[in-house]
Amino acid sequence: MSLFGRGAPTPSGAVNQERIEMAINEIDMVSDVFNRIVSSCHSKCISPRYAEGDLNKGESVCIDRCVAKFFEVNKKVGEKMQSAGANA
């Protein structure tokens, strides 16, 4: 089951290794999604003229809605794939 499992010899060590692996995978995944949101919402909301360094009001509101909408899309797609999986 584990890539690093070598049978019985190192019980506690092996378990830690596995848990660390899993934690890293989950962090990987969350940070992948986070990075995609940062990038998508940057394209959607931030004007590329860069006349100033602060977010203006319109950009800030756009970001909030953009992140919320991305979550909605994520949810819809997840539901769709679960029902597709159930029918397959």
Partner: protein, 72 residues
């Protein structure tokens, strides 16, 4: 190796979400999905999965054909 496949699947999945979000959502006057956006997202992900599946079939066939050919 199972873990690898899981990772690949999740990456495909989040790529799909990003792609359909980018294509379908262009109105940020509201944070809720409009019904038009929602339909677009459903069609987009449906189509993307069918697309990936078809690419996968052709890929497997061509890979099988290419077997024995020295790798680049």
């Amino acid at each position: 190796i199972e873990k690898k496949q899981m990772q690949d699947f999740l990456r495909l999945y989040s790529g799909l979400v990003e792609r359909c979000f980018t294509s379908c959502c262009n109105d940020f006057t509201s944070k809720a999905l409009s019904s038009k956006e929602e339909q677009c997202v459903l069609n987009c992900s449906d189509k993307f999965l069918k697309h990936s599946e078809r690419v996968g079939q052709r890929f497997a066939e061509l890979n099988a054909e290419a077997m024995g050919v020295p790798k680049p």
